[in-house]
């Protein structure tokens, strides 16, 4: 048969593994060079007195108090509190926003009815509603989970709606021509085609979840990373405060990486962008 056509070879396994040692090391150096440089600056600037070490302690001091808090279990307690709140709110948001978004995207009537209210809520900054949530739900877990839920809902909902509406009409036409029912069309075409766009919303929600939660914990809480930061600041435990900030950065990184892995798993059919 046709030998004239070119065959696109796609590597099934990554060949780099064969001579990994050198490349791996090179990659690591490239990826960490700037971070290491920044940490070195952080270490030296307070030590040579360019900034007040009381307000901006050297990196090693921060690491020391971070380690002390880790060993004492204090950090873990705050970390757990934060991650439980953000994950609960985040997962509840997904459970509500994805089905609702599919519904709104698929049924024109649902869209007409709900669109105005969506426009209002999506443009309301979640943090502006924080006082309302606290007044109604108290300063306990409920208000924090609720505000995370609120903040996460919009990006997921709006992306899900957009995803359903923007499915390539040709794919729908192609499936329809094979005489499949509307239900099957939805399950077999609309849903899988929407996954990548829905995931964009999920990742935005992941970032939002942390941001809103920390702010809520700073305003009123008895534990959590946001609380740790404000509490340390009030008590002038500056290294502890920085330790809290670093932990938040790590938490954000963790959530983002986790979502990336999930995204890759669900949209492995997408053309890799290089």
């Amino acid at each position: 048969m046709s030998n004239t056509e070119k065959v696109i070879a796609v590597p099934i396994e990554r060949r780099q593994q064969i001579h990994f040692s050198f490349h791996w090391l090179q990659k690591l150096v490239k990826q960490t060079a700037v971070i290491i440089l920044l940490l070195l600056i952080w270490e030296t600037v307070p030590r040579i007195g360019l900034v007040d070490a009381a307000f901006f302690p050297a990196f090693s001091d921060v690491v020391k108090s971070w380690w002390a808090m880790l060993v004492s279990g204090e950090l873990f307690a705050h970390f757990t509190a934060s991650i439980v709140r953000s994950l609960t709110g985040f997962i509840l948001a997904l459970l509500i926003a994805i089905p609702l978004g599919l519904l709104i995207g698929w049924y024109p009537l649902a869209k007409d009815l709900l669109n105005p209210i969506l426009e209002i809520f999506r443009n309301t900054a979640a943090l502006a509603l924080l006082p309302v949530f606290m007044l109604l739900l108290g300063i306990g877990e409920t208000s924090k989970i609720a505000i995370v839920l609120f903040a996460c809902t919009w990006p997921v909902l709006l992306n899900t709606i957009a995803a359903v509406r923007n499915v390539d009409p040709l794919l729908i036409k192609s499936a329809r021509s094979m005489n499949i029912s509307s239900f099957k069309l939805f399950i077999k075409v609309i849903l899988p085609a929407s996954v990548p766009t829905i995931f964009t919303g999920i990742r935005m929600a992941g970032t939002g979840a942390i941001l809103v939660l920390i702010a809520a914990e700073m305003v009123g809480a008895k534990e959590g990373l946001g609380y740790l930061i404000t509490y340390s600041q009030y008590n002038f435990q500056i290294p502890e405060m920085y330790a809290g900030i670093i932990t938040i950065a790590l938490l954000g990184l963790l959530i983002n990486q986790g979502l990336s892995v999930l995204e890759r798993k669900f949209s492995k059919w997408k053309q890799p962008v290089q």
Partner: protein, 268 residues
Amino acid sequence: MTDKIRFEHVTKIFKVRDTEQGKRALKEFTAVKDLNFSVKDGEFLTLVGPSGCGKSTLLDLLSGLTKPTSGRILLDGKEITGPGLDRGIVFQQYALFPWKTALGNIEFGLEAKGISKKERIELTRYYLSLVGLEGFEDRYPHELSGGMKQRVAIARSLAFNPDVLLMDEPFAALDAQTRETLQSELLRIWEKTKKTIIFITHGIDEAVYLGQRVAVMSTKPGSIKHMIDIPLDSRLNELDIRSHPEFVKARHQIWNLLHGNIYQAASI
């Protein structure tokens, strides 16, 4: 041979926005007008015409995705009322599901038909080899070249065993070399499967090369101006069929028809 498909006074009118009359005004646009023709069982008919002549409307009508405003289309003597697996469509832009492998894409129609998993796999493998893609079962569409994608799309449409294959400029997006290869592949598949094929194109050469008959369409409103028989037997045995006198003659005749020079065409 009996009539497989019959068009009886088929007219399709769309409501389109009339910008001259204001934003909300609608006007009627006749996409195709009074189509009357029939296609025989196992025939390869090509439709050629300028853009906007209603080629794609005609195909949508045949696939059952839209209904004619007046007139009717008969398939085996029964009126077409909606889409069905007795007709398979191949689109210019392949329309493969990007989240499914070649295998999964071909299975799609078979699943809709309610065929068991085991049989589906067997059929899929058979049709993949028919289009010359054995061993490519697990490739995703983005891992295939344009020509290969169209082969998968053809296999998908053949796999659920429709009587009629509708092809909407399937090779228009391919490079010349791949197009020629796929044209002769399609003829080979047609001879092997004995399907009735309706093939839309804007290429005169392609229309003459593939079709036993060529329907020449004209625009405003879209209608079939002429039906031209191509008196070539087997295109696959001839080495350079495109230089055959009959081929050249038919090509020239259609060219004249499309360029509005009817007198010259008649004098050939």
